[in-house]
């Protein structure tokens, strides 16, 4: 039963991250602009972040769904979620009227408290997957001795 719950959580979190990566992969320039609006990432790292982050999201999303290295994927997903929450909090404190850039590089959802709630739930899901005794069905079972 627990394995089934964790499998469900993996599918949800994995699906969210894969979906989040798609528009960013298609429009790296627009994503770089979205990142720059937060005024957090220094310019020398801006384009590197715009290239790397969507790929990381895609890889960990696929890993979670396929059940490969799911604990590591959940750790990265949780860490990214914490980073996003910190960025959103920072934007809110500085009263930046900017779009989140979470799923859509062209306009999209403005930063707000609702995003923090959403990310908080996502973080809890990531922690559950990472710490679960039984991570649920996945391809990793076929690689175990």
């Amino acid at each position: 039963m627990m394995g089934l719950v964790i499998l469900l959580l993996r599918l949800v979190v994995g699906g969210v991250f894969i979906y989040a990566s798609l528009d960013k992969l298609a429009h790296p320039q627009a994503f770089a602009v979205a990142i720059s609006h937060y005024h957090i990432v220094p310019y020398p790292l801006l384009h590197l972040s715009a290239h790397l982050l969507p790929v990381v999201e895609l890889v960990i999303g696929a890993a979670l769904i396929l059940g490969l290295a799911q604990r590591g994927a959940a750790l990265i997903a949780g860490t990214l979620t914490v980073v996003f929450m910190a960025a959103i909090t920072s934007a809110l404190i500085r009263n930046l009227d900017i779009s989140c850039g979470c799923f859509n590089t062209d306009g999209g959802h403005a930063v707000g408290l609702d995003l923090l709630w959403r990310d908080g739930i996502l973080l809890l899901m990531c922690l559950a997957v990472m710490l679960a005794r039984d991570p649920g069905f996945g391809l990793q079972r076929f690689f175990r001795k």
Partner: protein, 170 residues
């Protein structure tokens, strides 16, 4: 004994997580490197602060990269300068899209340009006027835009190919 075993299980989970995370990040780095080298979409690894501080609607591309993209033929060049009646120099094959005749210019090239194409816009070095054209093109659905840093003057100085057009030509 149970709490000890539980503690060991949690510690084991963390160490497995870190190890797997390391592998996943390595895979991601490799995939990013391969993707970046194959894409050639013009987004340089290093961002130009000017483009972001001026909040330009499209990234700047330096002359060297623009010349490589010109040779590859994947990008269409757009001349945004206001022209007089006499002969003038421009980048060979450039389309002319100007602020005052924007709609007419787009209509003229309707059969030759699609929103899926990639463009490099250039002017006489004035970033704001080129940025204005870029914004208007983006509003019409043209998303893959770059702005040539330094304009036509910088292109000529670096030995880029130039063609001469007559004043009435479009």
């Amino acid at each position: 004994m149970d709490s000890g075993r539980g503690g060991a299980t949690v510690n084991n989970s963390w160490s497995i997580s870190f190890r797997e995370a390391g592998w996943l990040l390595l895979v991601s780095l490799a995939a990013t490197a391969i993707s970046w080298s194959l894409r050639g979409d013009g987004l340089a690894l290093r961002a130009d602060p000017i483009a972001y501080e001026l909040e330009l609607p499209a990234p700047l591309v330096d002359i060297k990269t623009a010349q490589v993209l010109y040779e590859e033929g994947e990008y269409l060049f757009v001349d945004t300068r206001v022209r007089g009646a006499g002969d003038f120099d421009t980048i060979p094959g450039a389309f002319f899209i100007r602020d005052l005749s924007f709609d007419d210019d787009l209509l003229e090239y309707f059969d030759f340009m699609t929103t899926q194409d990639s463009f490099i816009l250039f002017g006489d070095g004035d970033l704001f006027s080129v940025a204005n054209i870029a914004t208007r093109m983006q509003d019409r659905g043209y998303q893959n835009l770059l702005i040539l840093k330094g304009g036509l003057a910088a292109w000529q100085e670096s030995g880029g190919e130039i063609s001469r057009r007559s004043g009435g030509e479009s």
